[in-house]
Structure formats: C-alpha cells, structure tokens
Symmetry: C2
DNA sequence: GACGCATTATATCGATCGGTATGAAATTAT
DNA sequence: ATAATTTCATACCGATCGATATAATGCGTC
C-alpha cells in the first residue's frame, strides 16, 4: 500500500558502492551519493537508514559481488594454489576497469575523522575474519604435510594478507594488472618448495 | 622587528605531524591542528600557509625524521641486507608507540574527498620516487651478480614496496611489531638464494 | 470520489568545514 | 614617548557537512 518507489533499491545500492569505493566512507558526501544514486535525500534515509547503515549494506554487497572468488580460492587442493588464486583474483578485482581502482574495504579503513572510527573498526574486524579463514585453510594444509614442519599458518596468513593489502594500495595509486600479477608471482616464491604436498597429491609417497 | 612569536614553529610542526599521522589529511581539521599545536588559526596561516602547505611541510619533516633509515638500508652491501633492513626498519616506524600506528604517507593517500586529490597525487609521486631509488639499488645488485639472471629489479622493487605498504595497513589496524617482523621475514624468503653474491663477497669465486 | 499510507520534492536544520577581517598586545627603531 | 611592525585573540565569513521537517504527489482500499 502507499506510493510505490520510483527506483530500484538494489541498483541504487550499486551506485552507492561505486561512490564509496572511489571516495572512501569519509570522502563520499551525501550529495555525491544521492546524485549518483539518482534519488533524493529523504528517499535515501527512508530506504537505507543513515550514512553508516548505507555503508554497511554496501559492504555486504561488495563482499558478495566482488570478493566471491575468495571462497573458490579456499577450495583449491593445495595451499600454493589457494594463495596463487587468492592473490591473482584480488589483483583482478583491484584493477578491474569497471570499478574504481583499489579495494573498497581498504579505501575507507586507513584514515578519517574521529566520527568514522566505528566504520574503521568494522572494517578491521571483517579483515580479521578473512585472515582467520585463510589461516584455518593453511592449518589444514599444514596438517596435510604441505607447508614444512616449522611453519606457522598464522604467519603465512598474515603474510598473504599483507601482500594483498599492499597490492590494493598500489592499485589505488594506478598500478596495472600486470604489475600486480608480477608482485603476486614473486610473493608466491616465499612458499616452501612443497614437495611433500605434491608427492602426496601425485601418490608418489605411498 | 615586531612582536616575537610565542611558539616554536618546529615544535608546532611536530604536533601537526602527529595529528596528520593519526587522522590523515582529510580527517585532520584545522581545529584539531590548532589545538594540538597550541596556536591560533591566524598564527597557523601566517606561519605555514594553508592546510595543504602545512601538510607538505609536515611530509618533508616526516621523511627527514622517520624515514631516514631508508638511506642507511640502501647502503647495505647486498640486496638481501638492503631489503631486510628496509622492511625491519619500516616495521619499527609503523609500530613505534611514540607515534600513531601506520604510515603518514599512506594514511592520507588512499581515500578522501575530491578537493584533496592534489595531495594524493603528491603522495603517489613521492612513493614512486622511493620505489625508483630502490629499483636503482637493485639494478646495481643485479649488475653485481646478485639477483639471478632472469630477475627484473623493477619487479622486485614493486614487490618490496607492496609488502611494506601492506605492513603499513596492518600496523594502522593494530598489528604488533613482532607480527610485522614475521611478515618481513617471510617476504625475504622470496629472494633467490643469492649464492653468486655471497660467493663474490667471500672471494670464493675468483 | 474520499480516505489512509508511503514516497516524493523542497527547504532547511544546527554543526562544522577551511580560511580571514578586525583590533588589541607586544616588540624594535626612531 | 612615538611610530612602525609583527603576532595574537576574537569573531566571523560563505560553503558544506549529515540529517529532517513539511508538504505535495501517487497509489490501493473502501
């Protein structure tokens, strides 16, 4: 009942995603958002709540639409392939010309005024969650004999996340996809030779 | 002639450095700055110019005071020691409890409103300059036989900078120094074995 | 057609943004 | 002492910030 909406809330959310991605949470003004979304301020507040609420909805959408490759990467058979696909997939997203360069979850996380501290905390929490997921995957790899005896999966998860974040910063500064690929390629070299795992996979060991 | 200043411009600049470091360029308001510096707005504008001018002066001071270890690292005899000292030294700065966590040059670089675009461009330019310096150092290492035949110094410079930037993001999110050390340690493993260089240094080759 | 309801459009809220105009206070030169 | 000069304190500038109050508009229901 009542007057129907004149816009598609999901489509408008995508427009907001682009603005937040490019400007960050603090840098995106309500005027920027409403203009890009093609709606008025009251419509925005009625549909999504305040700026923080809108940003959290954008974040959810971002993870679903642009970070879905992470789940696939974690399903790779080896840690090496997981990390390789993680970094390559991340490089693809960071430099996709269909979106602003860099990572939405990073562009709003590093700096900002005192009033946006809750947002930064939320982004830190989400990133920790990602890292924890990767760590668990690497613990499995460690249990399966991959990743030598003295290696700490937590250290490796931290390392991979750090390389990814560094790539994100570089992407936001204009790095090309090929440059990021080469960074990922070099980063992979830090991995132990992983002969144990490949032997195990090829059935040589038994 | 005239009334003498009631504050030390250099000391006030350090106070401004702290604020910009913590909040980033956009996130630091003139009120934040004047309160931390202990001076009034007219004094600030008369002494340093506008907000952008002040930030550039802060940047110069930052590089002199907190990034001086870079020059020392570049003087190390081998590429491995250079990179090691670079990443360790960076980790030290990023987690020094005397300053806000993270990197000033990064905290203001990633996100922000449209009006602070010139600042972001300047930060990108300064970072490119750093990377170029590192690349030249690695080219020397390559010419000296370190860094295997097929290795591109530019790729390695990009890789090292990416790891450093990732560490900076993590530091801004609360990472500890030990965590960053372990990231740096793993990052170093990507380097080729460098037997040629060590042989050369030890005089074994001749 | 009249009523109730949800969504629009317009105008505006107080607060804060970066940046200044205006004088009073404090120093040196005369 | 007086004039010249510079800094400091106060108040304020127009613009923009996120967020709303008010009322006109469009729909389903009765």
């Amino acid at each position: 009942m009542g007057r129907p909406k004149e816009f598609d809330p999901d489509q408008a959310l995508c427009a907001a995603l682009q603005v937040f991605w490019k400007r960050g949470f603090d840098g995106a003004s309500m005027t920027d958002l409403t203009e890009a979304m093609g709606i008025t301020r009251p419509s925005l507040y009625a549909t999504y709540g305040n700026k923080e609420d809108l940003f959290r909805k954008v974040l959810d959408r971002y993870e679903q639409s642009h970070l879905c490759f992470v789940a696939e990467a974690l399903d790779e058979p080896t840690a090496r392939e997981t990390i390789d696909r993680l970094l390559k997939g991340y490089a693809d997203v960071l430099t996709n010309p269909l979106h602003p360069p860099g990572c939405l979850g990073l562009n709003s996380a590093v700096c900002g005024g005192a009033e946006s501290e809750p947002i930064r905390q939320e982004l830190i929490a989400r990133r920790s969650l990602s890292e924890e997921t990767l760590r668990k995957r690497l613990e499995r790899a460690s249990a399966e004999g991959e990743l030598g005896a003295g290696e700490d999966p937590a250290d490796w998860a931290r390392y991979v996340m750090s390389v990814g974040l560094g790539m994100a910063v570089r992407a936001a500064s204009g790095a090309t996809r090929e440059e990021l690929y080469r960074v990922a390629q070099i980063a992979l070299r830090a991995l132990p030779a992983a002969q144990a795992a490949s032997r195990q996979l090829e059935g040589v060991e038994a």
